[in-house]
């Protein structure tokens, strides 16, 4: 049940090669407009590529000559909008896939009720889609996609609109269900990737910019987008010595090579990555000296309350770096937009590896 797709659509600047192995779950990440939904539409057969081919389990889905229509592909799509059939009630919506697959009315209803139970929406069975709240509709749409039992399952932002109680429950449900299936999931949350995906693909501008096993990629991101997703600060430059990176505008950045990461050779493109919690802030006059560390002059742009912490966005000549402080520390420093500060990050907390 492996899936492979290569396709280009000039009009959308889309040109991607993409692969899912048998039984694997891949998370597709990327900024808005990166082409994630386009990828799904191509795989599901709702859109035709200018050129390319797709193969599912040895069957050609499309290439220059052939084109298998959506219903014969064995690819089910949970679209970005719930799109429940307005003329059917909830249970009929979920039973649609099984019915289309040839199940008897009774069996289809049984399956529908089972899946509705799984997404905790059995109580809504007799409602019309127009009578559902946004999150309720999303749950029913998930149940409908799962009930179709396709060879390849495509889920476009399945947890959008779900409440904080429903989202973890559904995440666990999908974790269970996807373990046995070949699936691709589009998400904007690192947690989804962590919990559900074996592998992550990052799309940007219609192209794959990075891919790899989930944990590895999110711990050692090589793109600004992936770093942002993992909540890490990210600097790009060239290595000058092991664990040392020349970043334009910031000078040399000191860090450590992660033993398990690829060692960066001198002069190579490399990145430095570190957590906001590992950045401390000082008044320019009070910068301490000591163990190998990085100190960058910066101007505070913004302070954000983040639960028990305060997140400070500070602009250096090269990039905006974020630092997490306790409210007490922020108050003591008397920070506000425009404050001149020095950001300090211990070299031991900065990972440097080749890009």
């Amino acid at each position: 049940m492996s899936f492979r797709l290569e396709a280009a659509i000039g009009e959308r600047g889309f040109d991607t090669a993409f692969e899912v192995h048998d039984g694997e779950t891949v998370a597709v990440l990327g900024p808005n407009g990166a082409g994630k939904s386009t990828l799904f539409a191509l795989a599901a057969g709702l859109l035709r590529a200018d050129s390319g081919r797709a193969v599912l389990d040895g069957r050609i889905l499309f290439d220059d000559r052939a084109w298998v229509p959506p219903h014969a592909r064995g690819v089910a799509l949970l679209a970005q909008e719930p799109l429940l059939f307005p003329h059917l009630n909830v249970v009929e919506n979920v039973a649609f896939g099984p019915r289309a697959g040839g199940a008897s009315r009774h069996d289809a209803r049984g399956a529908a009720e089972r899946w509705l139970g799984e997404v905790d929406a059995l109580a809504l069975a007799d409602r019309r889609p127009a009578q559902l709240s946004g999150g309720q509709a999303q749950r029913v749409a998930i149940a409908r996609a799962l009930a179709a039992v396709p060879q390849l399952l495509l889920l476009d932002e399945p947890f959008a609109a779900l409440d904080v109680a429903a989202a973890p429950a559904l995440r666990r449900l999908l974790r269970r269900v996807l373990a046995k299936r070949t699936a691709v999931i589009i998400t904007h949350e690192a947690l989804d990737a962590h919990m559900l995906a074996d592998r992550v693909v990052v799309l940007e501008g219609g192209r794959v910019v990075e891919e790899g096993p989930t944990a590895e990629l999110l711990e050692r991101p090589r793109s600004r987008f992936a770093a942002g997703l993992a909540g890490l600060n990210f600097l790009q430059g060239r290595t000058t010595a092991p664990g040392r990176l020349r970043v334009e505008g910031l000078g040399d950045v000191f860090g450590v090579e992660r033993p398990e990461a690829d060692a960066a050779l001198a002069g190579e493109d490399a990145v430095a990555v570190f957590r906001p919690a590992d950045v401390s802030i000082y008044r320019p006059s009070e910068v301490p000296h000591g163990s190998p560390r990085n100190a960058w002059r910066a101007i505070v742009e913004e302070l954000e309350p983040r639960g028990p912490q305060v997140r400070v966005h500070a602009a250096t000549p090269r990039a905006t770096i974020v630092a997490d402080l306790t409210p007490a520390a922020a108050a003591e420093l008397d920070l506000g937009p425009g404050s001149a500060v020095v950001l300090v990050a211990k070299a031991a907390a900065v990972a440097v590896y080749s890009a």
Partner: protein
């Protein structure tokens, strides 16, 4: 969209107030002539006429043929509308123009066209004649004439509804494994119920009132081809006011058929 296709009772429907002025004028423009007609009818005199054998036979024939031709419009017209709205783009404009033609053809000329085609010496008719089938002067000819004039009404109004509805639900249904046929029956048709209802009402009404093409192609024989409009015309030769009374029967019957079918069943399918 369909999710709220039927305005909720408690929901918002922001019609500008001035819209009621032209709407009322329009309703009056339709209503007053009907009242003018009613005022002219001397019911006591006309009840025997209306309940005469020939009137009742004509009414029965009218209802039967109009229903049959509406069914024919459904069978032929829904696929035509679908192909026009969603089919391959090439030639769509020409196809649409073609389908619209019977719409502008004066009905009598439409009848002549049918006669030239399905008549004994016609393009198709001469072959039918060889196998012993003659259409002219049969009830089937009435149905054909009505279908010919009514078909475009169904096609055009349904095409509009199909385009307004778009094809997103169909696409989703296909990814759930539904074949195009399954999608057609379980998604497309139910979604355009309001548009289909409009189209059916239009073609039923057009069939029921059809006169010129029927007369020209099918002739006029009591119980076989003389529908109520033809009966009304004959009656008019004798007494126009009686013809009006007879026409009112047609109107009332049509209103009942349409009102029941459209008001309850079809429109209800979506709003319920």
């Amino acid at each position: 969209m369909p999710a709220s296709a039927h305005p909720e009772r408690r929901g918002y429907s922001g019609l500008p107030r001035w819209i009621y002025i032209p709407a009322t004028l329009g309703v009056l423009f339709v209503l007053v002539p009907l009242v003018g007609m009613l005022a002219r009818v001397d019911w006591l005199n006309f009840i025997p006429l209306i309940t005469s054998d020939s009137s009742l036979a004509a009414l029965r024939l009218s209802l039967e043929t109009a229903l049959a031709s509406t069914a024919a419009c459904l069978v032929l017209g829904v696929p035509m509308a679908l192909v026009l709205a969603r089919g391959p783009v090439r030639g769509r404009r020409w196809l649409r123009a073609l389908v619209l033609l019977p719409l502008v053809l004066p009905p009598v000329v439409g009848g002549l066209a049918l006669l030239y085609t399905f008549g004994r010496l016609g393009l198709v008719g001469r072959w039918l004649d060889v196998v012993g089938v003659q259409l002219a002067f049969t009830t089937l000819a009435v149905v054909m004439a009505q279908t010919f004039v009514s078909l475009p009404f169904l096609v055009v109004s349904l095409e509009g509804a199909l385009r307004t509805a778009g094809g997103r639900y169909e696409a989703i249904a296909a990814t759930l494994g539904a074949t195009p046929t399954h999608v057609f029956w379980r998604v497309t048709l139910p979604l355009v119920v309001p548009g289909l209802a409009s189209g059916l009402v239009l073609s039923f009404a057009r069939s029921l009132g059809e006169f010129g093409a029927t007369l020209t192609f099918a002739g006029s024989l009591e119980g076989v081809t003389r529908t109520l409009p033809l009966e009304v015309y004959l009656q008019r030769e004798v007494d126009p006011d009686a013809a009006v009374a007879l026409a009112l029967v047609l109107v009332v019957v049509a209103a009942v058929v349409v009102g029941v079918a459209y008001g309850r069943r079809l429109a209800g399918a979506v709003s319920a």
